[in-house]
């Protein structure tokens, strides 16, 4: 149960090593390297396009994404589908809805699922991590014990296969979009908690914190003004990477039949899961949402990885 935790701790550590130089210059340096990285640029462009699509998609959609306008033309039971044509650029889905409009509008839902679940993981994870980290650095013996208990708990969560954890959450909460977001989010909690705690520990033993302690500044204040702000960079990296994971996991949950109960509302994961049945008849129906998911996840992964490299002095080349 310790290895995954070790890895997260190491990530936290790595990112703090050049903290000898002041925080501000580190950020400047990182930004400079980020701008020079092709990975980062490609990632950022993909994300920008995706976010733009999520914002304006619903206005661009030529047709209603949920109306079964052409349902008389599609015969799912005979394997007769309608592919791309003038009126419907991406063809129709199995219930006679315009695929192009569904993809456009679906971007927003997909982004929302990704962002909300990431935020759930981030916020809860950060609270737990800060509590644990603060207790460990400044809480004395009781603090250490609190820290041990919390970390033992996150270890348990990390040791469970994430998808099964998500499925069990969905099983108990019933099927809804909220459930999907919570299920995917909960899986991320221990990761963020570990990360924040780890980097707080490193910070806690750094010179300026020791100095602050020596100066008699109050503990709460040290945590809030010194340790926390300086621990954020690994969290931002992880958050970016988590967005990719969240979108992919949400699609997996949809494939396992735990997606949004109202499939009329387009979301790429649900669309992919539904189209799977008609893969042989109309592969494009699955291809559009699949490509959307892959490219979006790729965007977040590229940017996240590039940020990680930019912040990690050891990988500087």
């Amino acid at each position: 149960m310790t290895k995954k935790a070790d890895k997260i701790d190491r990530l936290a550590e790595l990112m703090q090593t050049s903290e000898v130089t002041s925080g501000a210059s580190l950020w400047r340096e990182a930004m400079r390297r980020l701008k020079a990285s092709k990975m980062a640029i490609i990632g950022a462009v993909i994300i920008a396009l995706f976010v733009l699509l999520a914002i304006i998609g619903p206005w661009l959609a030529p047709h209603s994404p949920s109306a079964q306008t052409w349902r008389g033309e599609v015969f799912a039971n005979k394997g007769q589908f309608v592919g791309a044509r003038g009126e419907n650029w991406f063809g129709l889905d199995h219930l006679g809805r315009d695929m192009f409009s569904r993809i456009l509008v679906g971007a927003r839902q997909t982004l929302m699922v990704g962002v909300v679940s990431m935020l759930i993981g981030l916020i809860v994870g950060a609270l737990v991590g800060v509590l644990s980290g603060a207790a460990a650095t400044l809480g004395g013996r009781t603090g250490e014990r609190v820290d041990t208990v919390i970390m033992r708990f996150t270890d348990i969560m990390l040791s469970l296969p994430s998808l099964l954890l998500a499925v069990s959450i969905a099983a108990v909460m019933g099927q809804s979009l909220t459930t999907v977001m919570i299920a995917v989010g909960v899986v991320q909690i221990p990761i963020f908690a570990r990360l924040l705690r780890g980097s707080m520990l490193v910070q806690g033993s750094s010179d300026y914190v020791l100095a602050a302690k020596a100066l008699g500044i109050r503990k709460k204040r040290i945590v809030l003004t010194q340790i926390l702000p300086n621990s954020l960079s690994p969290v931002i990296v992880q958050a970016t990477l988590s967005l990719a994971t969240a979108i992919i996991e949400a699609a997996a949950l949809s494939y396992l039949g735990l997606g949004n109960p109202d499939p009329a509302i387009p979301e790429w994961g649900v669309m992919l899961a539904q189209a799977e049945r008609f893969f042989d008849n109309e592969p494009m129906m699955a291809a559009y949402p699949a490509i959307g998911i892959i490219i979006t996840a790729l965007g977040f992964t590229l940017l996240g990885e590039a940020m990680r490299e930019a912040l990690d002095p050891k990988l500087r080349g």
Binding site: Q68, A76, K78, L95, G174, Q175, R277
Partner: protein, 556 residues
């Protein structure tokens, strides 16, 4: 590529190469075994594992598909039809009261374990079931016995049904007489059930030594029903092996079978749980046939030259309404409006395999008792709006539950059917709140407990009697429907008490008309579950009751 000069890497490379060559060989070997030679093995894929090898302990189609090849009941349905014909009994009759049933048994029938079939064997079976104790009395184990024959010699649970079975006597070697306490609509149809198939008396003695236990939170099936060896019937195949790890039941031709011998020597049932998985396995040549074909695949497979025979319909798919859950449903106009709002024909045309039919009442037209004179509710959105207005429910908001992760013979694509109906209802001005649930236990428990105002369910008939359909729902107050209407219940119960077959059919027709006047729910469609076979297979006669006899299968 200097790296490859290092010893370790070289070794790894070699290992990969060996592995690939080896699996390549296996690939060829596999194909040889599958396709070459005399083709003496027929492989058929179902959607789920059988629950036990003793059909008496089962209530599901996956189990019966396997056991049906090895066990026969007193009565059977004609091959490819729903008409009751002699099985192990050549002829049968009952007294006018419907309480004494006499069976003239087939002669020269042998069980797989060499025992002879006779009247004593028949009675041994019925008495064995009647004397079940302990966990066997749980309806999860003995569902069909309890449905057809009621309770047991000593009911251990106060809420178990009263026994209707009275006795079985062997009048002579080949005549068995079964007596019941009350006449029942479930007879004689019940005598044809696979769950009441006849086992060898020798095997029964072994069964009796073992107990189904309810240790912990689950029912443990007795050992004899979980491995081949003990169970013995009279069918054209005998079960020789059940490999659970590989999800594979193997049957072998029974050479002493009384009727026409099976054409293919070995019969193997395997489990592939997804529709796409079964289709791909057929296309890849891994199996020779499979059941529950997705409607979208029927045409595709036909075009590619596969045998996809069409079954007759023998099920019903309906939208249930729970009046106690949403008071608006208590108004007749609202129920009528919902009936008018749903485009049944559209569902049949776009969702069901060929042979599917729109429904007008709670039974398919293949069941005796189907009436042509029921009130119908054709698709008419405006009429629906009008009726809602009349009822003062123009802003009707209603919860509509549907199951996920399931396909049933009557419901090949639940989510798509739900989405269509939701769109229909919304057009009529009804706000639909969708609720998705896993089929078991969530969805089934919720619908049974009446916590879904609108829901979709269906029924596949066990035998050709109207009560098997409408009696399931409308014989009395039921939480699933949440209404109490004496007229409806009386019409159904009256019909079930008529012992004269022709009179009973007429009474069912009347009951159907009464029910559709009341519209407790919306019958949507009847759908033939499609079945597919490889190009080189002569398929068996397909049965509306999905009771195919695989002994009829041969290779071209």
């Amino acid at each position: 590529m200097r790296i490859f000069k290092s010893g370790a890497v070289r070794a790894i490379t070699a290992a990969v190469a060996v592995g690939l060559i080896a699996t390549g060989c296996a690939s060829e070997r596999g194909k040889d075994g599958d396709k070459g030679g005399d083709k003496d093995t027929f492989v058929f894929a179902g959607a789920g594992d059988p629950g036990s090898l003793d059909p008496a302990l089962a209530s599901d189609g996956e189990t019966f598909r396997v056991t049906r090849q090895a066990f026969e009941a007193l009565l059977e349905h004609e091959s490819g039809g729903s008409k009751l014909v002699g099985g192990l009994a050549e002829k049968w009759s009952s007294d006018p009261a419907g309480k004494v049933w006499t069976f003239n048994l087939r002669k020269g029938v042998k069980f797989h374990d060499g025992e002879a079939f006779n009247a004593a064997a028949v009675c041994a079976n019925y008495d064995h079931w009647f004397n079940w104790k302990g966990t066997y009395q749980s309806s999860a184990v003995s569902y069909y016995w309890q449905t057809i024959m009621g309770g047991f010699a000593k009911n251990e649970d106060k809420e178990a049904p009263k026994p209707n079975y009275k006795s079985c006597t062997a009048k002579d070697e080949n005549t068995a007489v079964i007596e019941v306490n009350e006449p029942s609509a479930n007879l004689p149809g019940g005598f044809s059930l696979q769950a009441l198939a006849i086992h060898s008396p020798k095997a029964l003695k072994e069964y009796a030594k073992q107990d189904a236990t309810a240790k912990g939170d689950a029912i443990t099936y007795p050992k004899y029903s979980q491995e081949a060896g003990t169970v013995a019937g009279t069918g054209p195949y005998k079960i020789t092996k059940w490999n659970k790890g590989n999800k594979e039941v193997t049957l072998e031709r029974f050479d002493d079978y009384w009727g026409e011998k099976a054409k293919v020597k070995n019969l193997v049932f395997r489990t592939i749980d997804t529709e796409a998985g079964r289709r791909q396995a057929l296309q890849a040549g891994d199996i020779d046939g499979y059941d529950l074909v997705a409607p979208a695949d029927v045409k595709t497979l036909e075009k590619e030259g596969y045998e996809v025979p069409t079954r007759d319909v023998f099920n019903i798919f309906y939208v249930g309404m729970t009046q106690s859950k949403n008071p608006a449903l208590k108004k007749l106009e609202v129920r009528q409006a919902i009936s008018h709002a749903i485009d049944r024909e559209g569902i049949v045309k776009t969702q069901l395999p060929e042979g599917g039919k729109a429904a007008t009442q709670f039974m398919p037209d293949t069941v005796a008792g189907f009436s042509d004179k029921v009130k119908t509710y054709p698709f008419d959105t405006n009429k629906a709006k009008e009726l809602l207005k009349k009822a003062g429910e123009e802003k009707l908001k209603i919860e509509f539950c549907y199951p996920t992760e399931v396909t049933r013979p009557y419901m090949p694509a639940p989510q798509d059917m739900f989405e269509r109906m939701k769109a229909d209802l919304e057009k009529a001005g009804i706000t639909v709140v969708p609720k998705a649930m896993k089929w078991a236990p969530d969805y089934l428990d919720a619908t049974e407990a009446g916590s879904c105002a609108l829901h979709m369910l269906g029924w596949t008939g066990d035998f050709n009697d109207g009560y098997n359909f409408i009696g399931t729902w409308f014989a009395g107050p039921d939480k699933q429907w949440g209404f109490d209407d004496k007229k409806v219940f009386d019409s159904v119960n009256a019909a079930s008490k008529v012992t004269d077959p022709a009179g009973r059919v007429e009474a069912y027709k009347k009951a159907n008309e009464t029910i559709m006047e009341y519209v407790p729910g919306v019958p949507i469609s009847a759908s033939p579950p499609a079945i597919a076979f490889a190009k080189n297979v002569n398929p068996p006669k397909v049965s509306p009751l999905t009771q195919e006899n695989f002994a009829e299968v041969s290779f071209k």
